[in-house]
Symmetry: C2
């Protein structure tokens, strides 16, 4: 995979608040800005991915790079950098932060057609940006410890036929609306259902229902999450039955336990849904076991790729 | 409406390529950039509006300001500037370009929650940005003259229950997908239909069907366009029957004429749809009449608010 691309090396830990790479150049995250006329902003014509670094190692970086590549291809976004270059850039970004636990995002967005050329996305170049910053918890650690409080949103998830959720995107209009519903109800977040009543996902995470010792996870209408995939593997390791199929929202409500999974927080138990209390308001046994196992496996170096911090 | 807000005045025509206002400051458009971590980009958590300036006057500025205000309220975006301030800023922006024909955009976007605060949109401030630049033609004038070639997209429009199209937004995932369909078919653009087979809108414009002397315009699933509203008024002035109701896509296909309306191009006749040729490949009589009347009325100062260019 080595095309010989070698990013300019900066000092280890020079930008602990965050480091960015934008259109060919490294800079502190706070300086990374995009033109207000670029379609990546103005039409949300962009895809992205996020990988975590924990204890000095990337988690499943090849999986993230492959998903990011597939998404770029789907949206016909073609940055100058290939996978080898992106990988090298991400390592360099984390080096420059010096962080051992980091949130590392990569975006590929469309600029805009030059003057005098028809306003078609075919006529606009696209470019890469990426950044590393201190690890982001989608929910505060104490909320994950306590158990997340969720609602089922009234806002239905955008259908995959309109916008494909497996191509990670910023078209968050429905997700943001759902978050306001959650805030108004005093909950932490909201799960979105499709128009046929099947569970899809929440803003930034996949959803699992656990009933009678079996884990059920929607097979469509949601991002094919890397942490989700990790939960599937953990179920296999632990001998827990897993069903990947349509999940009616009633089945979610009637579950024994509910679980979320995301790069920005890992495996996260839910204790309340629309006011119903699960597991006596504490993370249920299988949820707790999966969460524990997830972090234990990561501590063991599972799917890990050590960051090339190298010399200062 | 005057709250006494007076933007700092620059020289008339100092930035003919484009002038921007971002978070309290004026600058050349090319310098206007937003942080890559702001949710306005990262979650497309933003609303916007666009008003045109033609021959030195805004067109229906109060309508645009009112729609923009309603959209901000729907998305709970609260910039520091009120309508009077926004109006003054837009005038100042056009002054600084010195342009007599301009495209003037205003966005209100969400920043992001400060460190250590839950990741809810309730916890993030929002801010205004705006810019003026040379008038933008969504389709080149020669394409409008020739007549637009469109297709009906296979990609269905995102349903209003998920993302409300009357709240002008950048969640363009479906629209961009449709534009690629159009490009692949050698067409200029694509009209999107909802999942029940009713016409909604295209990327950046409203759609009208004309049959037997009657103009039909969808009543839902689309932006309530200001140029659309102007077409309604022109129908009234010209004594043309107008029906605002559900428009089945078959009825659009079987129309005598098809028409688009947008701020960035005005009233625009269509001559081809999925290879069907309308009006012998020339703009039809009612389309041509409405287009002519639109520009004639604008030249007369219809709904016009002269830009306050003032002294140099």
């Amino acid at each position: 995979m080595d095309t010989g691309f070698a990013p300019e090396r900066g000092k280890v830990g020079m930008w602990p608040e965050g480091a960015a790479y934008l259109d060919g150049r490294f800079m502190p995250l706070a300086e990374a800005k995009i033109p207000i006329t670029d379609w990546g902003y103005r039409r949300s014509d962009v895809t992205y991915d996020v990988v975590s670094v924990w204890d000095g190692a990337f988690f499943r970086l090849p999986d993230h790079l492959a998903r990011f590549r597939r998404a770029r291809n789907e949206l016909r976004l073609k940055p100058d950098e290939d996978d080898a270059a992106i990988r090298a850039i991400l390592h360099e970004l984390v080096r420059r932060t010096g962080l051992k636990r980091a949130y590392v995002a990569m975006d590929c967005l469309r600029a805009r057609p030059p003057k005098g050329v028809p306003f078609s996305p075919l006529n606009a170049r696209s470019y890469l940006l990426a950044f590393a910053c201190p690890y982001v918890w989608l929910f505060a650690p104490e909320v994950i410890e306590r158990g997340i409080h969720a609602i089922v949103a009234k806002t239905p998830r955008v259908p995959p036929e309109s916008i494909d959720p497996t191509v990670k995107n910023f078209n968050w209009g429905d997700l943001t609306r759902a978050l306001f519903e959650a805030a108004d109800a005093g909950a932490d977040t909201a799960i979105l259902v499709d128009r046929d009543g099947f569970v899809t996902e929440g803003p930034g995470y996949n959803v699992f229902a656990i009933r009678d010792g079996r884990v059920v996870n929607p097979d469509r209408g949601a991002l094919e999450g890397i942490t989700r995939k990790s939960v599937h593997e953990l179920c296999d390791e632990l001998g827990i039955a897993l069903e990947v199929r349509k999940l009616p929202v009633e089945e979610l409500r009637d579950a024994d336990e509910i679980l979320f999974a995301t790069t920005a927080g890992g495996v996260m138990p839910v204790t309340r849904l629309d006011g119903r209390i699960y597991g006596n308001d504490r993370p249920g046994p299988l949820s707790a076991r999966l969460r524990e196992r997830y972090w234990a496996r990561r501590a063991e170096g599972w799917h890990a790729e050590p960051v090339e911090y190298g010399e200062g």
